[in-house]
Amino acid sequence: MEREMQKQQQEESSYTVEQLVTFNPYNPDILPDLENYVNEQVSSQTYSLDANLCLLRHYQFEPDRMSIQIVSHILIKALMAMPAPDFSLCLFLIPEKVQMEEPFKTLIVLSHYLETGRFCQFWDEVAKSRRLLEAVPGFEQAIQAYAGHVLSLTYQKVPRAVLAEAINIEGPSLDKFIEHQAVNSGWALGKGQLIVIPKNEFNHPELKKSGGDIVPLEHIARIFPILG
């Protein structure tokens, strides 16, 4: 019963914050509400880019009120939203001087590895920054989903070892992951150590006819007599 009420309260207050962001975004007094909302997103594993951008703007307007912890949580949440460009969007609002300090420097490196598909280096770096990232539940799963997404755009048949490196899982946990993808995304186990990914627009490039430029033969046929 208590949990129900707590959840309802959470829903009500997040509804109100979203309203604030839509109707009263340029009011410095809403800063604490926006900060609480970030903490809520972290604990309840939800996400709101608009509210977070609104908060980053306020920090831009009043740099003394900036909270490093909150900004780093926003950035971690943005990483989890990949492939959406949210991380860059948030970064645009953070002063260069601040970006050069920790933990932002590390987060930027992490985002760079993810953008360029360097998953092995990514997970190495993650291992070094355990404490920073543990603060945001759901981080690993979100990145693994992103890695799976990237692989499905790139491969028709992905070797098990490549998948393992990309999502940083091996053994029975890896099998479980593949099973989960099989149920939800149509992955299948192929011959040898290969996992077959269903056909999509990106992993099956086709020669496309550029429809706009086609001139029907009948039109050209009309001038054949003259060309002769």
């Binding site: 951008l53 609104c54 980053l56 831009q60 740099p63 460009p85 969007l89 260069e96 001087k97 953008e115």
Partner: protein, 413 residues
């Protein structure tokens, strides 16, 4: 007469730091032609004769400025007030023109910048809360919003240059810290959008219940177009301010009620058309929606190519040309990152190759030197970003442009 977007160096570009003693300027002297100008303009506004107002605003004001006020301000509002019944609203409008002329031709002092802010506050408060029964030309209403954002941008850049500030200026800055405060600027623009209910008007228009766009924003029921059109243009103003702050997502959200794939009031004034598409395209570029940018820039660059001859005599001609060049540079960046030449019209493509063909070849190579070309084009074509917070008056500020440029380069690495 909106001032150029790139007067980012108020005391550099125009070395006419004018002190009133240098040139024989008597703010209280009102030549006959100025008296005639204000008397007629006042009458036309009272009679809601939009055509005449537009002629006076667009042509006479510039002609007189060119002829007689090349390097001095117009007569002060106090000197002309009694010719126009001391009409409060007219005086606020006159003062807005007065400051706009000052910013365009001369170098405003800090005090003048602050006074201009005060004038905007008074003018906007009246327009937002009073019952104004005027019809003003769309050009004038657009210029008001455009100039408001421009002066905000100019102020932030001025404030960031701490090196040459006198003690006196620092005291003034600390004392008037509300002037051109970023919250104030954003809230005024937002207030226009809300008070005018322009979003609801545009929604109702889709269902055929409003004639806003069909009437070019004018009110043919005896009412006023001022609040509605200011609300409309404020959406573009908000897009522009958000771009200057680096928040592209929110900028695009502010523009959303305007469907740029359809005819709209933003097309009526060339300045508004270009400002809208330039910032829309730039925001899409930063969101990596390259195809959207390419499509929109293609349309407008073709449009400018075909119609620029008609704007040759306009005071905005230089501005149009400048934005044209900047959009070609951004287009070169987009096409290099996302080759979609089939989306370009033949004319645009050939212009693009002429201007940036060689650079694009180098940009598409995966080499060190490619980055510097992206850097060069981006710095040339991007908006002049600002720092919205007051500086620590003891320390100089970092240049924001570089931050944004680095983010464009990141995906290339």
């Amino acid at each position: 007469m909106s001032a150029s977007y790139d007067y980012d160096d108020a005391d550099g570009h125009r070395q006419m730091q004018l002190s009133q003693q240098d040139i024989a300027y008597d703010p209280n002297f009102v030549p006959e032609y100025v008296k005639s100008f204000v008397v007629h303009l006042y009458r036309h506004i009272r009679e809601k004769n939009v055509y005449e107002i537009h002629q006076m605003y667009e042509t006479s004001f510039h002609a007189l400025s060119d002829r007689s006020f090349k390097d001095t301000p117009w007569p002060s509002v106090d000197a002309v007030a009694h010719y126009v019944d001391n009409d409060h609203v007219f005086c606020l409008l006159y003062r807005e023109l007065w400051f706009r002329h000052l910013f365009a031709r001369l170098s405003p002092t800090l005090k003048q910048r602050i006074d201009s802010w005060d004038n905007y506050c008074s003018l906007f408060d009246v327009l937002l809360h009073g019952v104004v029964n005027m019809q003003l030309p769309n050009q004038w209403l657009w210029d008001m919003v455009d100039e408001f954002v421009y002066q905000f941008q100019s102020f932030c850049q001025y404030r960031a240059k701490m090196k040459n500030k006198t003690e006196q200026e620092i005291v003034l800055l600390r004392q008037y810290d509300q002037a051109w405060n970023v919250y104030g600027v954003l809230n005024y623009l937002q207030a226009f959008v809300e008070k005018s209910a322009i979003i609801q008007i545009l929604d109702r228009e889709k269902e055929g219940l409003e004639q806003f766009t069909a009437n070019d924003g004018y009110d043919y029921d005896g009412g006023s177009n001022v609040l509605k059109v200011l609300g409309y243009f404020s959406m573009v103003g908000l897009l522009r301010v958000h771009c200057l702050l680096g928040d592209y997502q929110t900028g695009l959200k502010c523009l959303q009620p305007i469907d740029i794939s359809q005819k709209g009031v933003y097309l009526i004034v060339i300045g508004s058309h270009i400002a809208t598409i330039y910032h829309y395209g730039f925001a899409c570029l930063m969101l990596r929606r390259y195809v959207d940018t390419i499509r929109e820039f293609n349309k407008i660059l073709l449009y400018i190519y075909m119609t620029k001859q008609f704007h040759q005599k306009s005071s905005q001609y230089e501005q149009i040309l400048k934005k044209n060049e900047q959009m070609y540079a951004l287009l070169a960046i987009c096409i290099s990152l996302c080759p979609q030449v089939n989306l370009l019209d033949e004319t645009v493509n050939s212009q693009l190759c002429e201007k940036y063909g060689e650079k694009m070849v180098r940009m598409q190579k995966f080499e060190e030197e490619a980055f510097s070309i992206y850097d060069e084009l981006f710095s040339y074509a991007c908006p002049k970003f600002i720092t919205p917070s007051a500086p620590c008056f003891e320390e100089p500020l970092v240049n924001y442009n570089q931050v944004h440029c680095n983010h464009v380069n990141l995906p290339l690495l």
